[in-house]
């Protein structure tokens, strides 16, 4: 294992993050604060509580997940797309590094950044509403697994994309709707029965449900199913990345 290489890539990517620290952190924090104002205070004041949790507190896990999904995908997809776009990828391809090492470096850095953003949002949320985390370790596990899984997913998009528009299109067309309909702002138990069933096809439901359980011990689906689904998505992403590298898809000519 070429650990120096993994570290070099990781540090390089983190340096990029810290160079743009202001915007990296400002935008998710501001948008989260906006959600609190709109959904937490303005609308939330008309909803007393969901399953015994005040509405403001109820949406915190969903908001964090929303940011983690977006951040992981955009960080990782940009991280690998940019060297392809500028041509600096030549160095990665000519270096004595395995694909596993390249992936560890890029995905590790992207996931680290989304974790940081997730924790900052958690802290920001603490300023608006009372927070209670029943199972901190489980919460951390969900955060880490989700960051990694969606960073892998972003990595795949970054390799697949052949233009800046394509980097945007999947997050915009697929992830944002799934995240919004995945129970960030409501419990799917509040939906009519048919929509509850349909929602179960949405992978994000499982993420948010499990994550919320680690806070309030309230969930839409069982905890073990949530954990299983996170692991399942991760396995799919790892398999796709492995396949990409095996075939050199979009990387080598």
């Amino acid at each position: 294992m070429n650990l120096h290489a993994v570290l070099a890539i990781y540090k390089f990517e983190m340096a990029r993050t810290f160079r743009t620290l202001g915007q990296s952190i400002a935008s998710p924090v501001i948008s989260t604060a906006l959600y609190f104002v709109v959904f937490g205070s303005a609308i939330g004041s008309r909803i007393d509580s969901v399953e015994g949790v005040s509405y403001g507190s109820f949406i915190v896990p969903g908001l964090i997940m929303l940011s983690i999904l977006n951040q992981s995908i955009s960080n990782a997809s940009f991280g690998i797309y940019f060297p392809r776009f500028t041509g600096t990828i030549y160095e990665l391809l000519s270096a004595p590094v395995s694909y596993l090492e390249v992936t560890l470096g890029y995905v590790g850095a992207a996931a680290s950044k989304s974790l940081m953003v997730g924790l900052i949002i958690l802290a920001t949320a603490g300023l608006f509403v009372p927070l209670h985390i029943a199972h901190p370790f489980l919460m951390a596990l969900f955060l880490v697994l989700t960051s990694l899984t969606f960073s892998l997913f972003g990595f795949i998009i970054g390799i697949w994309a052949d233009g800046f528009e394509k980097l945007q299109i999947i997050p915009l067309l697929i992830i944002t709707p799934l995240a919004f309909l995945g129970g960030s702002f409501y419990s799917i138990k509040m939906l009519p029965p048919l929509w509850q069933k349909i929602s179960l096809a949405n992978p994000v439901v499982y993420l948010i449900s499990g994550f919320r359980w680690s806070f309030y011990e309230k969930a839409d689906v069982s905890l073990s199913l949530s954990l299983f689904m996170v692991g399942f998505f991760m396995a799919i992403c790892i398999a796709i990345v492995a396949l990409i590298f095996k075939t050199g898809y979009r990387l080598k000519t």
């Binding site: 120096h4 070099a8 990029r16 391809l93 000519s94 270096a95």
Partner: protein, 307 residues
């Protein structure tokens, strides 16, 4: 000595069916400086790319210091530094960071002294804290060379190192490449400047339409180049060459109106003086004379045109 790079039966067909390399065989000896010449689109970059891991070969086998570039890629790539043709840099990085990054990527522990030495040798030391986007094109080129040298490679590929570099700096760069070669690094470079190959290379390869059409030691090419011709325009046509001139390499052209003498300009005695006095004795008069030399350029152009 066993070659440090050996390429056997290498072909590359790009997606879409274009065949950029056709059955290339090439061996590079340790420590030699090999210049690859060829017109645009000949396949120079593709050839370098396959050895370095950027392009997947369609057919054939390549070993670097005995390591197969596909099966043993870690060992083979460890030995190679690549300076690409395109100036691709991370605009926002500093010179120091980008060069240190390259070293890490090649699996080596930090070594600030080495990086310092490399940057100084390329006159980049003053710029070490500059962002790459603030550098000129020639400086960026040198940063790419510094990156390639950061991991102390045994083999250096330079894809048109002096494209877009001014004359002064080009001479500097030749000097630097020479110094590298003297330190034992094997250098393979591509160039469009024939004088560059002439100046530096031990051997010269010419590639066109994906085929290596010539591999020869520069010395031999220069010998070919050393061939000069003396052209004499005669006043009266000559029916045949007089027997007394047998010992000279002569040719009659244009119905006997032109006499061509081929000689070796490298030799001490060109034989011109003898020839002219003998011609005078024979009563052969001429109106005009001139000499011609075939340059490497001409050899190259002829080769490329023929292939």
């Amino acid at each position: 000595m066993s070659p440090i790079i050996s390429i056997h039966g290498l072909s590359k067909t790009y997606k879409g069916g274009f065949q950029a390399l056709k059955n290339i065989d090439l061996s590079i000896q340790p420590g030699e400086l090999f210049a690859l010449l060829g017109p645009n689109g000949a396949g120079k970059t593709t050839l370098i790319g396959t050895v370095c891991g950027l392009v997947t070969p369609s057919e054939g086998k390549i070993t670097v210091s005995g390591h197969d570039i596909l099966k043993d890629y870690r060992k083979s790539r460890q030995l190679i530094g690549l300076v690409p043709q395109e100036l691709t840099t991370d605009a926002f990085e500093t010179v120091w960071n980008t060069v240190s990054f390259s070293r890490g990527l090649f699996g080596l522990p930090k070594n600030p002294e080495h990086i310092e030495k490399v940057l100084k040798s390329l006159s980049l030391w003053d710029k070490r804290n500059n962002k790459l986007m603030t550098l000129s094109g020639g400086m960026k080129r040198r940063v790419l060379i510094a990156k390639a040298l950061s991991h102390e490679p045994k083999i250096l590929f330079l894809d048109e190192p002096t494209a877009g570099v001014d004359v002064e700096l080009r001479k500097d760069m030749w000097q630097q490449i020479q110094t590298l070669k003297d330190s034992g690094v094997t250098v393979i470079l591509t160039t469009h400047y024939i004088e560059e190959a002439e100046q530096m290379a031990d051997r010269i390869g010419v590639i066109n339409h994906g085929q290596l059409i010539l591999i020869e030691e520069k010395r031999k090419l220069i010998q070919r180049m050393g061939q000069k011709r003396l052209l004499l325009d005669l006043q009266e046509p000559l029916a045949k060459l007089p027997d007394t001139l047998k010992e000279f390499d002569l040719e009659l052209l244009e119905n006997g109106l032109k006499l061509v003498y081929s000689y070796d300009s490298q030799k001490e005695d060109s034989g011109i003086a003898d020839l002219l006095s003998l011609l005078g004795n024979q009563g052969v008069k001429f109106k005009d004379l001139k000499t011609e030399q075939s340059s490497l350029e001409e050899i190259f152009v002829n080769l490329v045109r023929k292939s």
